[in-house]
Symmetry: C3
Subunit: 116 residues, 3 copies
């Protein structure tokens, strides 16, 4: 049994690694004044930083749950997503609409990732 | 490290198999003119096809997240679900309401599945 | 391949253990007349019982998805959560708003947990 917790707060860890699988918290943008494309790009840059920190990479993402404040932003989120994702190794994915933690959060993404 | 990706598009894989666990994308019905029972049956038929493709089966489903466009359809979804599921080996499950990718999508289901 | 299913109904298992990972169903409070803090405390007490039953504990929780009927209850849920969680070993987490299975369900939590 081998668990590593990354970027802990008093209530959650941003990433928890167990054996060869990493469970990410829902990631949101820091600059919430940006639109859905900008917020998605910020989230994916955060994901890159955590992937590097745990020694994984985009090609090892297993699955993603994406919540959009407004499902009408589906194409906007996808434009940032498609530019970022490893096209040869895309994860399983589900995208639904949900009101998120703060009114100006347009998108939140939670990843499950394999380790090499 | 052993990852297999099934039915890839430019943005997602319908199923990602890592070691002995398969992560499914959220599945929706192709014929969205059908009601919630009909859409759920279509989703479960799709799941059967993917289960067969990866060499798994209904008795090895670990968990399911179910999103309903209208939570009032809970009983309708369950009637199709209960007819399909392996009653001796039912998965963990959570069901919540969410607006989904298109207005006529009544139900979306995401599975996590073990491999034999 | 080793799967154990705990507290089965005809449609789901409250917990499914596969190898060294346990997948929980979304847990809700039995006494739904209580407010969000009371309902969260009930859910966490249920989680304790299931954790004990499968031989795990709070320090081995990998991730949690939390649905709130009203995202305005975020702080109320967190007050019960923070009092309960292992502060040295907090899980990954995502919290979103969703209409849940019954009108008086204020909160639902789904855990993924490691076994020792």
């Amino acid at each position: 049994m081998n668990i590593t917790r990354v970027a802990k707060t008093e209530r959650l860890s941003r990433v928890v690694v167990h054996e060869k699988v990493a469970y990410f918290s829902g990631l949101t943008a820091d600059d919430k004044s940006q639109d859905t494309i900008g917020q998605t790009e910020q989230i994916l840059a955060k994901a890159d930083a955590f992937l590097e920190k745990i020694g994984s990479n985009r090609a090892l993402i297993l699955s993603a749950t994406i919540w959009l404040r407004d499902i009408e932003d589906f194409d906007a989120m996808n434009s940032a997503w498609t530019a970022w994702i490893d096209k040869d190794e895309p994860p399983a994915r589900a995208t639904v609409q949900a009101v998120l933690g703060l009114p100006d959060i347009r998108v939140e993404i939670q990843f499950t990732v394999a380790l090499p």
